[in-house]
C-alpha cells in the first residue's frame, strides 16, 4: 500500500510540474500585457519601463523559475490590472466557484445515483427507459444554453427566481441546476451500467445460492463493487464541472474564478490567468489523488 501511495504522489507531482509549464506558456502566449495596460500613445520607452516593472524583461526560463518559486510559497504576484495581490483576488473568488461546483455535484449525485441503481434493478421498465432518455438528453445539452433557458423561463417569464448574482440564497438554484444537469446525466448512465455489471457477476449468483437475501446482495455487495468505477468517474466529473462553471458564471453573473479568468485572459493579466488556472488544475489533481486513495480503500485488490 505504501508503494502505491508513493507512486501516486510522485506521478501527481510530475503532472503538476507539467501543468505549471503549460499554464506558464499559455499565459505568456496571450500576448503583450503592456498593450492593454498603457494608452495607445505610450512610447516604446514607456513600455520598456513597464516591462521592467513587471519583470517581463527577464529571460523566459528566469521568469518561469520566479513564477514557480513564488507560487510554492503562495505568492502569485500582483494583478497587472487591479494592482492587488493575485492571491487576494483568488481568495475572494474561489469560494464562490467551489460552492457552485460542490452544490452541483451534490445535486447531480443525489439525482443520478438512485436513478441509476433503480434503472439497473428494474431493467427494461418504464423508469429505466425514462432514466436512459434523461441521460442521453442531458449529455447533449449545452450548459450555457440551459442556463439561458432556465433564466428565460423561471426568472423572466415566471419571475420566481433571481437571474443573476449571488446575494440571495435562492440565487443558487438556477446556476446549480444548469451546471449539474450534465453531470447528473453522465453519472446516472455510468451508475446504471456499473450496477448491471455487478449484478451479473459470478459472486452475486453464488450469494443467491448461499441463501443471502436480495437486499443484502444488492445494497451491500453489488453496490460496493459498482461504487469503484462510479467514484472514479465522479472525480473526473469535477473537472467537467470546473469547466462548465466558467460559462455558467458568465450566464448568471456569478462572482467566481471562471469569470475572473475570462476577464484576465481578455486583458492579458498574466499573473491572474496563471494563478487561477494553476489553482484550478492543482485542485483537480488533488481531488484525483484523494479519489485514488479512496478507491484503493474500496478495492482491496489494489491495496495488497
Amino acid at each position: 500500500m505504501g508503494r502505491f501511495i508513493l507512486r501516486r504522489l510522485l506521478q501527481t507531482a510530475v503532472t503538476a510540474l507539467f501543468v505549471t509549464m503549460i499554464v506558464f506558456a499559455l499565459a505568456r502566449l496571450t500576448g503583450d500585457p503592456t498593450v492593454m495596460l498603457l494608452p495607445t500613445e505610450a512610447t516604446q520607452a514607456d513600455r520598456d519601463f513597464l516591462k521592467n516593472q513587471l519583470g517581463l524583461d527577464k529571460s523566459v526560463p528566469e521568469q518561469y523559475f520566479t513564477f514557480i518559486s513564488k507560487a510554492l510559497s503562495g505568492d502569485f504576484g500582483t494583478s497587472f490590472r487591479y494592482r492587488v495581490p493575485v492571491r487576494d483576488l483568488i481568495a475572494t473568488r474561489l469560494p464562490a466557484t467551489i460552492e457552485l461546483a460542490v452544490l452541483s455535484m451534490v445535486l447531480a449525485t443525489v439525482i443520478a445515483l438512485p436513478l441509476g441503481i433503480v434503472s439497473a434493478l428494474r431493467r427494461g421498465s418504464m423508469i429505466d427507459r425514462l432514466a436512459r432518455w434523461f441521460a442521453t438528453l442531458g449529455l447533449a445539452t449545452p450548459t450555457f444554453w440551459l442556463g439561458l433557458m432556465l433564466i428565460l423561463f423561471f426568472a423572466v417569464t415566471l419571475n420566481w427566481l433571481p437571474a443573476a448574482g449571488r446575494e440571495h440564497w435562492s440565487s443558487r438554484i438556477l446556476p446549480v441546476i444548469a451546471l449539474g444537469w450534465f453531470s447528473a446525466a453522465a453519472i446516472a448512465r455510468l451508475t446504471r451500467s456499473s450496477m448491471l455489471d455487478a449484478m451479473q457477476s459470478d459472486f452475486v449468483r453464488f450469494e443467491r445460492l448461499s441463501g443471502l437475501p436480495e437486499f443484502v446482495i444488492v445494497l451491500k455487495h453489488a453496490l460496493k463493487n459498482a461504487a469503484i468505477p462510479i467514484v472514479t468517474y465522479m472525480a473526473l466529473q469535477f473537472g467537467v464541472l470546473l469547466s462548465g462553471a466558467v460559462v455558467t458564471e458568465r450566464v448568471f453573473a456569478w462572482p467566481g474564478i471562471g469569470s475572473l479568468v475570462v476577464d484576465a485572459i481578455l486583458e492579458r493579466d498574466f499573473p491572474v490567468v496563471q494563478a487561477a488556472v494553476l489553482v484550478t488544475a492543482i485542485l483537480f489533481l488533488l481531488i484525483n489523488l484523494a479519489t485514488d486513495l479512496f478507491y484503493s480503500w474500496l478495492d482491496p485488490r489494489i491495496r495488497y
Binding site: F18, T280, F284, L285
Partner: protein, 298 residues
C-alpha cells in the same frame, strides 16, 4: 470415426451483400440518423439550401417572430434577428461551421493522439511515463480555460479554433490508444512479427493500428457533440468565431440582449445545438455497440 464434414462447405460461402448490409445496419436509430443526415445536408450544401444569405440584413424585418406566431410570416420561417437576418439561414450556415470545426479538430486530435499513444504504449518505459504525465496534465486543465487561453494567444480565425480544439482533446485519444496498444502488444501475432524481424514501426502500422481504429472511431463520433458544444461555448463567451462568421454560439451571444422580447433568437440556435448533438450521440452509441462492445455503457 471422423467427425462428419458434411456441413463445412456452406460456411465458407459468404451470404449475399444485401443480407450482410441488413445485418450490419441492424438496430440503426432512424430518427437520429435522419437528423444527422439533415445536419449534413445543411452543412455541406448550405449556400444552395439556405433561403437567404445569412449576413443579409433587412431592417424592415427586424425581430420578426417565427411563422407560427402572431406577427410572423412565411418569408422568414424561424424569424429574424435584430438586424433582420433570417434565423433559418443562419442556423443552416452555423451547421456548416460546426461540422467543419468538429471534423477537422477531431481528425487532428485523433492523429496526434494516435501517434503519441502508440509511442507511449509500444516503446514503453520512460517515454511512456512522460507522455502519460503529459496526458494527465492536459486532462487536469479545465478544457474551457485551456481553449480560452490558446485562442487568446493565437487569435480567433477558423484554423486557430480548430487547432485549439485539437489541443484540448488529443489527450483522451492518446490515453485510449495507449491502452489498446498495451493489450494488443501482448498478443501472439505481435511477438511472431518481432521474431520474424519486422521493424517496430511496421508492426505498429500493420498490426496494431487496425485494432485500435475501432475504438478511435467510436470515441471520435461521440466527441463530435462535445466539440460542437465547446466551440459554441467559446463563441458565446466572445472568444470563438467572430462576426461575420456564423456560429450557433455567436447567435446565442447576440440574442441574449433580446431574450425577454425575442425568445427565438436564443432558443432556436440552442435547440439546433441540442438536437444535433443528441442525434450524433445516439448514432455514436449505436456505432459503439456494433464496433466496440467493450466500451459499452448500456
Amino acid at each position: 470415426m471422423a467427425v462428419s464434414t458434411a456441413g463445412i462447405e456452406d460456411a465458407t460461402e459468404r451470404p449475399p451483400f444485401a443480407a450482410r448490409l441488413r445485418e450490419g445496419l441492424r438496430g440503426l436509430p432512424l430518427l437520429a440518423t435522419g437528423f444527422v443526415a439533415l445536419f449534413l445536408i445543411a452543412a455541406i450544401f448550405a449556400p444552395w439550401v439556405s433561403p437567404y444569405d445569412p449576413a443579409e440584413a433587412n431592417f424592415l424585418a427586424s425581430l420578426d417572430p417565427p411563422f407560427w406566431q402572431e406577427k410572423g410570416t412565411l418569408a422568414h420561417l424561424l424569424g429574424c434577428d435584430q438586424l433582420g437576418r433570417d434565423i433559418l439561414a443562419r442556423v443552416i450556415h452555423g451547421a456548416r461551421l460546426s461540422l467543419t470545426v468538429s471534423i477537422f479538430a477531431i481528425g487532428l486530435a485523433g492523429a496526434v493522439g494516435i501517434v503519441l499513444g502508440i509511442a507511449a504504449g509500444y516503446v514503453g518505459g520512460i517515454l511512456d511515463a512522460l507522455i502519460m504525465r503529459l496526458v494527465d496534465a492536459f486532462l487536469a486543465l479545465p478544457f474551457i480555460l485551456m481553449a480560452l487561453g490558446f485562442v487568446a494567444a493565437l487569435g480567433t480565425s477558423l484554423t486557430n479554433i480548430i487547432i485549439v480544439m485539437a489541443i484540448t482533446n488529443w489527450a483522451r485519444y492518446a490515453r485510449l490508444v495507449r491502452g489498446e496498444v498495451l493489450t494488443v502488444k501482448q498478443r501472439d501475432f505481435v511477438a511472431l512479427a518481432r521474431v520474424a524481424g519486422q521493424p517496430r514501426w511496421r508492426i505498429a502500422w500493420k498490426h496494431i493500428l487496425p485494432n485500435v481504429m475501432n475504438s478511435i472511431i467510436v470515441l471520435g463520433t461521440l466527441d463530435v457533440g462535445r466539440v460542437i458544444i465547446l466551440e459554441a461555448s467559446l463563441s458565446f463567451l466572445g472568444l470563438g468565431m467572430q462576426p461575420p462568421e456564423v456560429s450557433w454560439g455567436l447567435m446565442l451571444a447576440d440574442g441574449r440582449a433580446y431574450m425577454t422580447t425575442a425568445w427565438w433568437l436564443t432558443t432556436i440556435p440552442g435547440l439546433a445545438i441540442l438536437l444535433t448533438v443528441l442525434s450524433v450521440n445516439v448514432l455514436g452509441d449505436w456505432l459503439r455497440d456494433r464496433l466496440d462492445p467493450r466500451q459499452q455503457m448500456d
